[in-house]
């Protein structure tokens, strides 16, 4: 008999399970459109891109053996403007080397963008066709990847970086991967 009584609690248990699931969806900062990267812990794709404004070409061999952040950006991308102070701050604190990949952009527009918002990058490659971005699994700018000393992708962030992302994700990651 008690067994049957307990059965009456089943709908309540079901409701609580659903409520917990929906609560997760309401959590601040949760965005169901953000996708996990398929390349986490896999080697970063090889690329060789034209250098920015006649600079030397950028390839992943340029940061072999280094822990770096690679940031895909574009002058036409509004969230890139929002994240530029965060990138500038990272560059100023010199906690990690930043490489930029200018995605489907006109060089003169990108130059104007960097003049206005600052240039946090050590080097910039120009991905005019967007093929390098596809190889990284980029589906919208800005996106930021952490590549470890062994050349593997360890972390990806979709959308603009914020102080909070730096504090709660990037700094712990750098610590874990042993940034100097």
């Amino acid at each position: 008999m008690t067994g049957r009584r307990l059965l009456y609690l089943l709908p309540l248990v079901g409701f609580l399970a659903l409520a917990a699931y929906f609560l997760r969806g309401l959590a601040p900062g949760y965005d169901p459109q953000v996708l996990p990267s398929a390349l986490i812990d896999k080697p970063a794709p090889n690329f060789t891109l034209a250098g920015f404004k006649g600079g030397a070409p950028l390839s992943n061999a340029d940061f072999a053996g280094e822990l770096v952040l690679v940031n895909f950006f574009a002058s036409w991308c509004v969230p890139c403007r929002a994240e530029s102070p965060v990138l500038m701050d990272l560059a100023r604190r010199n906690v990690v080397q930043l490489y930029g990949i200018d995605y489907k952009d006109k060089p003169e527009d990108a130059a104007k963008f960097l003049q206005t918002f600052g240039d946090p990058y050590r080097r910039i490659g120009v991905d005019e066709t967007g093929r390098t971005a596809i190889n990284f699994g980029v589906y919208g700018v800005p996106e930021t990847y952490a590549i470890d000393r062994a050349g593997r992708i360890r972390w990806r962030h979709v959308g603009p970086l914020s102080e909070q992302v730096v504090r709660t994700e990037i700094m712990p990651l750098l610590k874990q991967l042993g940034a100097s």
Binding site: A38, G130, Y139
Partner: protein, 152 residues
């Protein structure tokens, strides 16, 4: 007015769909083009997330359509071309997710819920057998007749 607006909206939608694949993207070889379109219909546009890359007007969808056509021209099989995209964007790019441990809940939970419901219904019906109709005995029939007469 509302009808006219709705018609206009549908028309705009049709034009949008019809123009998603641009003529300049199409391959001259109709067999290859048909294969490319079939593959494109299986792949999700990651920008809009509810359209296939074949239907989407997004820039990335265009790039992926061109990429698929390049892979096919280079001699890829359909499976190789799909894998090329999945390797970069993950299983989410497939509009029809593969059956694997991570997607068991997605694929099999409807059947599990159906089974739970069927089991519940079976238990419920088994516990309450319908009593068979017994003919009334003489006393009961008299009582019934009296009641019916009283009513009139």
């Amino acid at each position: 007015m509302i009808r006219a607006l709705a018609a206009a909206a549908i028309l705009v939608g049709l034009v949008h769909v019809a123009f998603a694949v641009e003529p300049s993207e199409m391959l001259s070889n109709p067999t290859l083009e048909a294969r490319a379109e079939a593959i494109g219909r299986q792949l999700r546009c990651l920008v809009c997330q509810n359209e296939s890359i074949e239907d989407s007007g997004a820039d990335l969808a265009h790039d992926l359509r061109v990429l698929i056509r390049e892979r096919l021209k280079a001699g890829d099989t359909d499976a190789q071309a799909v894998k090329y995209v999945v390797d970069r964007y993950g299983d989410f790019v497939l509009l029809k997710p593969p059956v694997e441990p991570a997607t068991y809940v997605l694929w099999f939970s409807p059947f599990a819920i159906l089974a739970i419901g069927a089991a519940g219904a079976w238990l419920y019906l088994r516990r309450r057998p319908v009593p068979p109709d017994e003919p009334l005995d003489l006393n009961q029939r008299r009582k019934l007749e009296r009641l019916l007469l009283d009513d009139q």
